[in-house]
């Protein structure tokens, strides 16, 4: 496999982060798969140093597990982690979409309409990654309309765990159409200046996505929670107040 680096970014290390991150999220690198600094370096025609720096960054993004002197493995998809990400998204996006609906200008409305239009054109012919990208664009714009630019970064970091699950399957037409329909409802409510409707539509939308992931979890049990990891996982000994299955927001 001959990987290729784009020459865009400032440093090779950052370029490798972008490359591997994309491949992990899209599932080209399966959960549990072993990555070697040496191997990647050879494939890319660079030294181990920038590869190693990339690995460290991917570890911080919960996409890679580095076991010293043993190996580096694509992180398994942890269902509890995914549920946490949903919790965070729901909490933040339900608030921001409400604020967006309260402050939607005509310029915002135009932009939202064009994003929806873009998704509509990708409905049939578009690739999965293009459709997901357009999907992202809408959620991102709604968050940023609320005037807190760095909040999207947080959402985005959490979203990778969700996206990894979404990429397990190619999205069929039915799924895409439902997503688009959800988005239309949300955008109409926002443009219409109806916060309650916007929050409700967003809540329903996130729930639909979550149900999809639950279905996928049953379909791909091997990728979940490290069962394909080469070595036995050590049990986390830390006692937390307790985890419970994901459940919907209680405030609306």
């Amino acid at each position: 496999m001959a990987l290729q680096l784009k020459a865009n970014r400032a440093t090779v290390a950052d370029e490798i982060v972008a490359l591997l991150r994309d491949r992990i999220i899209r599932g080209e690198l399966s959960p549990g798969a072993q990555l070697s600094e040496n191997e990647i370096a050879q494939q890319l025609g660079v030294s181990r140093t920038p590869v190693r720096e990339a690995f460290i960054q991917l570890r911080e993004q919960s996409l890679l597990r580095i076991l010293p002197q043993r190996g580096s493995f694509v992180a398994p998809i942890n269902l509890s982690h995914v549920a946490d990400s949903f919790f965070l998204r729901e909490t933040v996006e339900l608030r921001t979409v409400g604020v967006a609906a309260e402050n939607c200008t005509s310029k915002n409305a135009d932009r939202l309409r064009s994003i929806i239009e873009r998704q509509r054109t990708l409905l049939d012919g578009g690739s999965d990654s293009a459709f997901v990208k357009a999907d992202d664009a809408m959620h991102r714009y709604l968050v940023e309309m609320c005037g807190r630019p760095r909040v999207w970064k947080t959402i985005s970091d959490a979203k990778v765990q969700i996206d990894r699950m979404r990429c397990l399957n190619a999205q069929d037409q039915t799924t895409r159409r439902r997503i688009l329909a959800d988005h239309v409802r949300i955008v109409e409510a926002v443009i219409g200046g109806d916060p309650d409707a916007a929050v409700g539509a967003m809540k329903q939308h996130l729930h639909n996505i979550f149900e999809n992931t639950e279905r996928l979890a049953k379909q791909y049990p091997g990728y979940m929670d490290g069962q394909t990891l080469a070595t036995k996982r050590k049990r986390e000994a830390k006692t937390r107040p307790g985890e419970r299955p994901y459940q919907s927001a209680t405030l609306t």
Copy 2:
């Protein structure tokens, strides 16, 4: 200055991250101060490699700015960034404290009381860092009571920006007492199983903290937004939907 590494962590790089992160948050390394890979490496008696790996991680945490071939500088305190952090905290913690109040067990209550008690003992004699640590413990436990363990990590990442501001000044007795009083109100509401009161108390608490930071921002303008940075900052050219000053949650 002879820095010292603890032998706890697995790798030297992670140890350096913890060390520098702490020093930056506590303000021992001032915003804008230049850090050199070489210099830190010599002070710690290690090579540049782990120092460099630490720098990259600190950059990802928005605590360091690395300008290739020019130098690395302690990130300025960006007020917009701080406001974003408050927005995130308020959004998440107002929800979680409500959930915590709904599900508070007697065991949870005991733990909360002991955390409060710990803070009370630190009120007079305790160091700033010890008091802040106990402060953290309460917020953390309230979030984790909600059963989503990784959500605190997100809050914690955002909180560093707020903590950097808090550490500009030693906290006087008045401030500490007000914080403790806020915490008591929150915990009483949570233990009492009153979500509305808990959310209200938390909202008031976060507001109080935010007002403190606004005061500090006026007091230390030189540390804000890179004005002490050795080199002129390039203007961010990206146009965002627009930033507006921090404002309170509209949903309760």
